[in-house]
């Protein structure tokens, strides 16, 4: 008899534990190019206490635990690299509170982006959150865990900057709270207590987020997206800088792709605009398109392509179905916006070298403070050779990010290694100390951020 299995059943109930080949197979995969690794158990907890019990068991048995949200981060970050217990957190899916006046929502870790958007649309139409372009099954916790960015990143920054508080199960099983909630004062702010933010960006290697409070923002009555096209990549940083100066845009995204061929080499900029009235919309459109970008039109360097009302729900990148292949992965980076032209040119070279049509995207984070720039590589899931090609291209791009003076966003193990090689020794040592102290048995998502 498998005693770990029995113990897990005692914690969450038989239906929510599996050690059968079908579940072990499915949970061994990431959707990108990462090599599959099988867990020994898959568990789907429903409560913080379940997670505490599982963590304590894992410490006793010295078996790894890998938390999984939507599993959509595409860099193998929730692949059980060293086996162990795969913790599927999606059953923890209650929206606990929405505070309309203080504009925040408290959710359990399995709440998906789509679920929160739908809930707000129905119950609080004047509020919205910064939703990433990821498929709506992505969880809020998974997203802040990797410092994701949503469609309000331009005015408000990374989603992990919008966290108002956390409940975390520590690697040794205790529960702790971060932010105002830690003194029972509600979930409305992350400050001003001493900073013990040891969790965001750590990919679950320092604890499991069970609840989080995320900031919400005014949702104006009219929201839509306008598109502008520039003929040359060198023009993008200045145009984005000017757009951010207006403080009238929500999302600002620049992109270029080889498909469709007629638009290849052109740089498109989409700008999300929100307004409560037609008057406000007209005013903003005039400032953005005429006063700010009009000069590019006059010089024959750009064109306004129009404004479409209503924001589209995030669409899974059709890139995955490029040539009916079913797969893609991207390298994301956080870089200064000034680097856009080189990011575009060098990324394109890499794609062309590997015979993959290029797709690049840059989302403005903060008022031009940085940009999340992504290079996407499609592959055919049925053709292992294309997966190898895409993986090579991804690794080359990881190297490129660092050469360009950027930071790899949500790096997989290859990118993490590159970062750790360059990391300030003092910082690395601090990370190691934290990790050894907080996770003495090294059970949390091992293989990721191995500093200890």
């Amino acid at each position: 008899m498998d005693s770990i299995y029995e113990a897990l059943v005692n914690i969450v109930g038989k239906e929510y534990v599996s050690n059968q080949p079908e579940e072990l197979y499915i949970y061994s995969f990431d959707l990108g190019t990462a090599e599959p690794c099988q867990p020994q158990y898959v568990v789907s907890p429903r409560a913080t206490e379940h997670i505490q019990g599982i963590v304590r068991l894992a410490n006793k048995e010295k078996i790894p635990i890998v938390p999984l949200g939507g599993g959509l981060s595409l860099a193998g970050l929730a692949v059980p690299l060293k086996g162990g217990i795969l913790l599927d957190l999606k059953r923890m899916d209650s929206i606990i509170e929405v505070n309309e006046n203080a504009r925040y929502a408290v959710v359990e870790c399995g709440v998906s982006q789509g679920q929160l958007t739908s809930y707000l649309e129905k119950n609080y139409p004047r509020l919205t959150h910064s939703e990433p372009g990821a498929p709506p099954a992505a969880t809020l916790a998974g997203n802040v865990m990797i410092h994701g960015q949503g469609d309000l990143a331009q005015p408000y920054g990374f989603n992990s900057d919008l966290v108002n508080g956390l409940e975390v199960v520590l690697p040794t099983g205790e529960v702790c709270h971060i932010g105002s909630v830690a003194i029972g004062a509600g979930w409305f702010t992350n400050h001003p207590l001493p900073d013990v933010g040891l969790f965001l960006g750590w990919c679950g290697t320092t604890g499991i987020i069970t609840k989080l409070s995320i900031r919400l923002f005014p949702c104006k009555r009219i929201r839509g997206v306008g598109t502008f096209v520039l003929e040359h990549e060198d023009l993008v940083p200045e145009a984005v800088y000017k757009l951010t100066h207006t403080q009238m845009a929500e999302d600002i995204v620049a992109f270029s792709s080889a498909i469709p061929p007629f638009a290849s080499e052109l740089q498109q900029i989409t700008v999300n605009i929100a307004a409560d009235s037609e008057k406000e919309l007209e005013f903003k459109q005039e400032i953005l398109w005429d006063d700010t970008l009009g000069e590019y039109i006059h010089r024959g360097e750009g064109a306004y392509l129009g404004f479409v009302r209503h924001l589209q729900r995030p669409q899974i990148s059709k890139t995955s179905d490029y040539k009916k292949g079913g797969g893609f992965e991207y390298v994301g980076s956080i870089v200064p916006i000034q680097r856009y032209p080189e990011c575009y040119r060098k990324g394109r070279e890499i794609s062309e070298r590997h015979g993959i049509p290029y797709t690049v995207t840059g989302r403005c984070v903060g008022a031009g403070h940085s940009m999340m720039f992504a290079w996407t590589f499609a592959f055919n899931r049925a053709d292992p050779e294309t997966i190898i090609q895409a993986r090579k291209a991804l690794h080359e791009t990881d190297d490129l990010v660092l050469q360009l003076g950027g930071v790899i966003w949500k790096p997989g193990t290859y990118g993490q290694k590159l970062i750790l090689e360059r990391l300030d020794p003092g910082t690395k040592e601090l990370m190691g100390k934290i990790k050894r102290l907080i996770d003495p048995n090294g059970i949390m998502n091992p293989g990721n951020w191995e500093v200890a």
């Binding site: 239906e15 929510y16 599996s18 059968q20 080949p21 079908e22 579940e23 197979y25 499915i26 949970y27 995969f29 959707l31 898959v42 789907s44 939507g70 599993g71 959509l72 599927d88 999606k90 059953r91 899916d93 998906s112 789509g114 679920q115 958007t117 739908s118 809930y119 649309e121 129905k122 498929p135 709506p136 099954a137 729900r313 669409q315 899974i316 059709k318 995955s320 179905d321 009916k324 292949g325 079913g326 797969g327 893609f328 055919n380 899931r381 049925a382």
Partner: protein, 392 residues
């Protein structure tokens, strides 16, 4: 069979597993795929099923009873087809059916599926009840045997044998008689329409059923068929023509709506009914008929109609499709789709949950009882609401 021989060998790897297929149209939750809602493990999601099928055909995993149960837990409700944004979406359910077909071919089936198919073959119904009893639901009603009347009323297995569904079948027959419709039934000569057999992957048996039924209908001269069940409606409307059966097929809600429109049924009154409606998958998502049942309910004076949050193409399946009404791989939990759906209906504040399918009727009726809501939420077939409306 190897992957290369699989009908969808060129397509099945294209599922990215983005998870859109778990949601309803308005993204309210990830519980709109019935097996995923029930088990909440990725293996039971639509993407999980496709990836497992591919792995099985590729010999990366072996056949197990558990694998078969995962594949057979799909109710073929088509939520995934509606939600998947990629171009191969039309084939998602077909891929699952084809994989089941391979299990049928090689005789590796869950026990309950085997029993289901065996019963159909032996008795013409999945209950294993005698053929002779098939017409008993209409005893002493004066329903005529079909002998060339304008319409053949096809009642189906559930309406014929299940005691709860029989009541609704009787209501429908009574309405048709009172409206002066020229119709008859086949009684003991009626046989399963085969929709579920098709969805369970037993295409050979389906072919036999379809051909025999078509022959029978042709011999009796039937040209217009009214089906009580949307499952039968789907089979007869969408598959029978491939076997030479080109009948004019109506789901009974379409037919009743017609009777209301041309004044054959009028003065319907049901005071104090607050009704919400559950769209059956085989009427809604499979055949895009969302309006007829609602139009009937609108025609009943005194009815206050309210929609569930998930309605029409977003409706959560009751969990009874694709043979699951009998093989019951999704039951036994508060997370069973039927119980979730009963709670969703109750949340609307309705006192009647209207259905238009005998399987949904039985599934949701049981679910309302399990949820201990029976004295606050009554599950009624639309035929039963109409008959109540006529009797007042």
């Amino acid at each position: 069979m190897s992957l290369a021989d699989f009908k969808y060998a060129d397509t099945i790897h294209r599922c990215f597993r983005c998870g859109y297929c778990k949601f309803p149209v308005n993204w309210k939750d990830v519980n709109n795929c019935p097996p995923y809602a029930r088990f909440r493990m990725e293996s039971y999601s639509c993407g999980g099923r496709l990836w497992l099928t591919r792995a099985w055909l590729n010999d990366q995993i072996k056949w197990t009873e558990h694998l078969a149960e995962i594949l057979y837990s799909c109710t073929t409700c088509k939520n995934c087809v509606i939600k998947c944004p990629l171009r191969f979406n039309v084939d998602i359910v077909n891929m699952v059916i084809a994989a089941r077909g391979e299990m049928v071919e090689s005789g590796r089936l869950p026990q309950a599926v085997k029993k289901f198919l065996e019963n159909i073959e032996l008795y013409g119904n999945p209950y294993g009840e005698s053929r002779a009893k098939r017409g008993e639901w209409a005893n002493r009603m004066g329903v005529e045997k079909y002998h060339g009347q304008e319409y053949l009323l096809y009642v189906g297995c559930t309406g014929s044998y299940d005691t709860r569904a029989q009541k609704a079948a009787r209501a429908l027959a009574e309405i048709m008689m009172r409206a002066g419709v020229s119709f008859g039934v086949l009684g003991p000569e009626e046989t399963c329409d085969g929709n579920e057999v098709y969805k369970l992957g037993e295409s050979g048996l389906f072919e036999v059923l379809a051909e025999n039924n078509i022959q029978k209908y042709k011999n009796t001269g039937a040209q217009k068929i009214v089906t009580f069940s949307p499952h039968a409606y789907n089979a007869m409307k969408n598959y029978y023509h491939e076997y030479g059966g080109s009948f004019e097929v109506f789901h009974y809600t379409q037919f009743l709506h017609g009777l209301i429109e041309n004044g054959k049924i009028n003065n319907l009154r049901c005071p104090n009914m607050k009704i919400t409606f559950h769209d059956p998958c085989f009427l809604g998502r499979w055949n895009e008929e969302y309006e007829a049942p609602r139009a009937i309910l609108r025609a009943v004076e005194g009815v206050e109609f309210t929609e569930m949050g998930k309605n029409k193409e977003s409706a959560l399946c009751c969990g009874g499709g694709g043979g699951n009404f009998q093989i019951d791989l999704l039951g036994g939990s508060e997370n069973s789709p039927a119980r979730r759906r009963a709670r969703e209906a109750y949340e609307t504040g309705a006192n009647v949950l209207a259905v238009a399918c005998p399987k949904c009727l039985v599934m949701l009726n049981d679910a309302v009882e399990s949820e201990e809501l029976a004295n606050r939420l009554e599950v009624l077939d639309i035929s039963e609401i109409v008959i109540k409306g006529l009797n007042i």
